[in-house]
Amino acid sequence: MKKRYMSIGSLILLALLGGSAVWNMSGSAAHSNTRRVAADEEPNPLVKINQKARAAKNGGEDATRELVDEIFRSVDFAQQFAELDDSIKDRLVRAELNHKKSHGQSSCSEQRVVHAVNLLADRIGTPAYTRTNVFEVRRLRANLLLYTSDLQERRNKNGLRKGQKQDVMMSPLETFFVAVTLIQQKRHNPEYQLTNDEWIALHGGKRIAGGTKRFEDEMRQRHINSTRTEEVREAVQKGITSMSPLDMLQLPEELLNTLGIER
């Protein structure tokens, strides 16, 4: 079983992080791979993820599996290897169900997302701005709260107190979702392709009312030129080609372990 995980995980990794090699294959063979498409009738995948998350809250294995499938449909790296990801999906479903059985006890946390994303950046050798920190993970979770609130632990007003941080512990599925969502942002979104020092500098170094204008102006430009997205793409391509097969074999399992997702 472990061997199966390793080989399948390696292939997934090629798409996930590595994506660029796969990316390039699809790019260079686009004549056969390109398809004409009709209008997308599901414009916001987060809506569907939240619907499935709500159904899975009190549901059993089937509802949880549907939620996992929806998450995989919504993240591009998983789409590319949908045929190969059953073991990873099984592991996530199992971990989530066990999490429910144990009344919410989990070894998954914001810190583990930080470690997993940074581990990936280190292994692949992507630029410093693809690393993350606890505050960035919290910002992402805060922004996701309105959209995928049902993926988070059920919140109750009696459980909230002033000064309380967002619960740093997460379910296995939320942890996975936050991690892959953050990886997507690091690959594509200039607003997350920043070191913490850069983020603070673009906000003027101190908290002020209206202090986001400089940041927003800069981001408008970065969305247009996509320079860092290209840098990340090239770094991933270079990193993948320089990794040993053994290192690559070990990485998917290492990442899921780092996220605290049980086997």
């Binding site: 790019g27 967002q166 969305h223 080609t241």
Partner: protein
Amino acid sequence: MKNIKLVLFSMVFVCCAFFASCSGGGSHLQSGFRVFGEKYVQVFGGPPMFVSPTSIQGTRLIDYSGATGTVTSFGPLLCGGPCPIEGGRTPARWNIVAGTPVVECVGYLTPNERDVTLNSLQVSKCLTFGIVFPFSAAPNLINLQAPPATFEMTGENLTTTYGMPYIEYRDPYTGNLIGATSATYVSPKGSVLQAAAPNLSSAYDGVYNVLISNIRADGSLEPVGMSTIECTGRPYPYEPPPDPGPCGCPPDLPCLPCENPIQ
């Protein structure tokens, strides 16, 4: 068995490396350019978030001096990565849009009309319909030395069926809850609420997210909208993010090994 898988994996790896290094990643076409569509969702109180690749289409508007290529329109196309537009006319001005306007996308983060040069990568970023339910808060500029006694918020979908809506004030940088309170009044149409101002003694200058939730039958919170308030009168620098701790040892939590935590 392991050896066979290792050999297979190595073959995949070598193939990917070959494509990545020898094809130039599909980044150099004989003629034409590459295009990529990205779909973002507007996140209220935070940056737009990348959700998935999307289809892309384009039409040439005018040629520039020395333009070559026979292709003057394309799409909608959806590729695993950037789509090559072999023979796409360059240098020329094109109208390139991601997603399906109006049906799928309500706005763009990048200009649709752009000058396209040979072998360039043209990324179009569209904003999908969101599930953002913006509320307006009054007042929305708060002097922390003399905070108002009450807030009024205007939006929609408020209900008092299972209790008065709940309002959380969160620091988007740290994710911390800086104050929370229940509404004291909701208009019959569910579009206006009033609430006592929370204790903002731990707030500093800057922008804060206001999350408005209805109460569900089970007492849990269901977010229905978000707003922001700007605070002034208590300057504070950005604090550095907390160290996530050594791998698997988050601050204030039991140590959890990152690698092979679950046997």
